[in-house]
Symmetry: C2
């Protein structure tokens, strides 16, 4: 593939940014990659692993001269970073982000984008439960979706170029508006994460069942929840603080639904339970057919040695 | 390894029973394996795959002359099966089961066990989201726990022999009483399954987000829930109907906890969320250290081809 952006600046060097850097290098999509992270340790790690060509102690220095600036910090930090880099952005440059919510990012970042710079918020639906500069890998985005939310007045060519970068990294790209994004993600990501955190929290509090039993016997279902409940706490705090309305809406629906099932258990309504559990099987089949999960039993997990 | 039971009868030939049969054959733990399933198709499949030596149209015929009878039918069907086989059980034989709840099984089955037959309820904490006679495999129980719940008056030798069978199939064995079992499993299995079913149900109902979007964008977290929500509906209906009290207890705690987190989101209490999400990481580490899940990112999933 050929270079899509001559100079890319990654602001924040965690799982997503380091995976982007690995992917851009592997498929020759960027001329050079500059990086910024708050801590010297992370900047050193980026150079040591080699996914950045240069690192800078400030976001402003990293963003200077860049053709594409990627904001890859927690959603709550986006506004401050945008304010800092704003005076240093090159005319004609594109600014994007990889945050998990979009309305709050648009509100926080857009006011700082100068005339002549294109702001195209984005969200790659990819990740693992690991975080930090050592957790990235080039194939993270293969066959995953990246959602772009172009803001008003952005030229179609700028969006097409950013799309080409994501497709070059193996992603499928869709465009939608910010409020629809936030609702869709409340269903497919934010509420599931909150529920997983809650279930793990319940287990943590329960004293009649010792922690050791919960851990030993976790393969009966519980362990599936612990993976997403091990995700980065700062990132997820910011997601819930900034996608409050959609998350509370979906949580309300979830609670109503849970109460119906709880009532069916209490009343011994087996038919209701059976019908409910039969319908939910169809979605799994759809996800496997769409190539968004493996059909292998148990996610194809490899067992730890005894 | 050497033969632990000369003749084993499997009543029900789904995921667990077929996996036991494969494992007993692979490690030479049973002299011969008789099987019973309700449908002729399943009985034929068992012979065709070869995990049973003989199959019978009735549970009574299969159980006759067996040294070990394994009840591997949904929990709600255990009582009727026990009543049917009762007159045909060989003196000195052991009867066990593999149901996911234990108090209800003891109540349903124990009255039918004749003097001189040993009833030792059991529960292997192993499975996948697949079901039926074609879903079994020999290594399902490797490094998984099997919980035994010996009933009053069972000789220690009988329990030791059943333990040897499970250990021969690669499992770790613990003993506990039925009511503690049901509480532990309500936390580590039953409530997580109900919550997963609920979340998938919410997504199914939501019309503003089309099914296609939910499926396409499921890799952002939701898909983890769909795996356990694809489990066998009959089995899970029976679990909730028969472990009602413990499940409702844990569900009550779950709802309280969820409301606290929901309130923190509504009030914008970021510190509460951050602290909560930090604590839940520790349990994941414990599970990985205990060999009950893989440390590989994303469960080590292999991506479906694009």
């Amino acid at each position: 593939m050929s270079v899509v952006y001559e100079r890319v600046a990654l602001i924040g060097l965690g799982l997503i940014a380091s995976s982007m850097a690995h992917a851009m290098k592997q498929w020759g999509l960027a001329g050079s990659i500059a990086g910024h992270a708050k801590t010297e340790e992370t900047r050193k790690t980026a150079l040591e692993i080699g996914f950045c060509d240069e690192v800078f102690a400030t976001a402003a220095e990293a963003a200077k001269d860049a053709d594409l600036v990627v904001l890859a910090v927690p959603v709550g930090a986006m506004g401050a970073v945008a304010a800092e880099i704003s005076p240093h952005l090159k005319p004609g440059a594109t600014v994007t982000d990889v945050g998990s919510v979009k309305q709050a990012v648009v509100e926080a970042v857009a006011p700082h984008i100068p005339e002549g710079v294109h702001f195209i918020p984005g969200h790659p639906l990819a990740g693992t439960e690991h975080s930090g500069p050592r957790s990235g890998f080039a194939t993270l985005f293969q066959n995953r979706w990246c959602l772009l939310v172009p803001t008003d007045g952005v030229p179609a060519e700028a969006t097409a170029r950013l799309r080409a970068l994501w497709e070059g990294m193996g992603a499928n790209v869709d465009e939608m508006d910010a409020s629809h994004h936030d609702l869709v993600l409340a269903v497919t990501s934010h509420t599931p994460h909150l529920i997983a955190y809650t279930m793990v929290g319940v287990a943590d509090h329960l004293r009649r069942v010792t922690e050791s039993e919960i851990i030993k016997y976790s393969a009966a279902g519980f362990r599936d929840f612990t993976r997403i409940a091990a995700s980065d706490p700062t990132m997820w705090r910011d997601v819930f603080l900034t996608n409050k309305e959609a998350t509370l809406d979906i949580l309300g629906r979830f609670t109503e639904e849970l109460f119906m099932l709880q009532r069916a258990i209490r009343m011994g309504d087996g038919d209701f339970l059976f019908d409910y559990f039969t319908r939910t099987r169809a979605i799994r089949r759809g996800i496997i057919e769409a190539g968004q999960d493996t059909a292998a039993p148990d996610f194809g997990r490899v067992k730890a040695a005894k």
